[in-house]
Amino acid sequence: MEGTSNKLFRNIVHSFPLILLFFLVFTGFDLSFFLYEANYFFNFIYLVIFYWVLKKPDTLGYGLIFFAGIINDVVQNFPIGISSINYLFLCAIAAFIRTRTLLPSLLYDWILFFIAILIVSSINFSISTMIFDIPISYGTLMSSSIITFLVYPIFAKIFSVIYLFSLEQGNVE
């Protein structure tokens, strides 16, 4: 009985990024806060995908990220496929950085994450406005990208604790 519950716990810890990703896309949950009467938010999904594809690519399969994008588009009422493209490009950039990096550091990841979200946001903005005529507030998109960049180290630290914990659990196995 104890063995089964331990195994279940280990599986939950191992699948944490996947559970978190699907929770975020299914519920349309966003982390936003009010400051000086303005609503600021950051894209938590970008953080999750970038961090875990960079650090532990086996946890989040590309196929599942593609499906997460489809669900996000349906829930958020975007043209179906647009989020999948954004997420997959983010994966490609994270995979590229992983291949090119010999000694990873948080600062280096942080700066490259900013470049990554700028590229992905540009792709998102171009497809939305030029192909589908969806009016996106450029200011909101930029502010959300900058806030997402600013909060990256906090979540990277939290995720790294979870990552180390999942490695420990893996070693116990």
Binding site: F26, G28, Y62, F66, Q76, L88, T99, L102, S105
Partner: protein, 278 residues
């Protein structure tokens, strides 16, 4: 930090990122990107089997999303219920101090309603407003910075059509912007893309109510230059678009820094059931 240099390495890294499959990956990124582009291109098919399939998929995902959100909706409801409970005494005193004269107001309202219908008949004006409505349950409420919309559990099969007005009690909430077989999407009046033709009373000033992403108020646009819109004026739907029924109360005008805003009558954060005007 150490990054390898060299053009060949750069190309190899790009190729590896797009084409290499991980140990547990079934598809490469390149394959999935192509599939995503194909899926995105299907958006151009607005009718036929592709649209039916899309509608079915959306229904399925909305239902899934509804079930996953149940615990969080419960927590949110408990929070609002607690807040209501805390402010109960204050509200009770507020209501006690008011002289409501509800019965006489109701009679007056019924008189004006019937008079209005009779006059409209005389003018041969198309009646958009109707007492028939479809009571719908809110399945999901997505209120991000871009999006202020809700999903309800009535769709094409129940007779919902695009553009229909949606109310809570007698107040305007938004309009139907997407219809699936069993579900529909309502664009709230607070959404960035929402533009509702309205009339400001007294004075019968026509304007467009434009959502700005704020849950509490929206902006009045396209007002005549010399208008006499004042603080406290009431805004109703004008019905000039020929789809949304006229005379649905939307909110109250307030002026801030020479701009005219409308404070909504409805609290968009607590939508549970809505009425879709048939």
């Amino acid at each position: 930090m150490a990054v390898e240099t060299g053009r060949d390495d750069f190309i190899i890294a790009i190729r590896s990122a797009f084409l290499k499959k991980g140990t547990r990956q079934k598809f490469s990124l390149f394959t999935l990107l192509i599939i995503s582009i194909l899926v995105l291109s299907l958006e151009y098919f607005k009718t036929g089997p592709v649209d039916k399939f899309r509608s079915f998929t959306k229904d399925f995902i909305y239902k899934g999303s509804f079930f996953i959100s149940v615990p969080f909706v419960f927590i949110k409801d408990q929070y609002y219920s607690f807040q209501d409970h805390m402010s109960m005494y204050e509200k009770y005193n507020e209501l006690k101090d008011k002289d409501l004269k509800l019965k006489s107001l109701e009679n007056e309202n019924n008189f004006y309603k019937s008079e209005n219908q009779r006059l409209k008949k005389l003018l041969d004006e198309k009646m958009l407003s109707s007492e028939d409505y479809l009571l719908s349950k809110v399945l999901l409420d997505n209120k991000g910075p871009y999006l202020k919309s809700v999903i309800v559990n009535k769709g094409f099969n129940h007779g919902v059509r695009l553009g229909l007005a949606v109310k809570v009690e007698s107040y305007f909430v938004g309009k139907i912007v997407g219809v699936n077989l069993l579900t529909s999407r309502i664009l709230l009046a607070s959404d960035l893309n929402s533009k509702i033709p309205v009339i400001v009373e007294p004075g019968s000033v026509n304007a467009i109510l434009t959502g700005n992403g704020n849950n509490e108020f929206a902006e009045l646009e396209y007002l005549p230059k010399n208008n006499n819109v004042n603080d406290g004026d009431i805004v109703y739907t004008s019905g000039v678009d020929g789809i949304i029924a006229s005379a649905i109360p939307v909110g109250k005008v307030f002026i801030k820094e020479d701009k005219k805003f409308v404070k909504f009558f409805v609290d968009f954060s607590q939508l549970k059931y809505v009425k879709i005007n048939n």
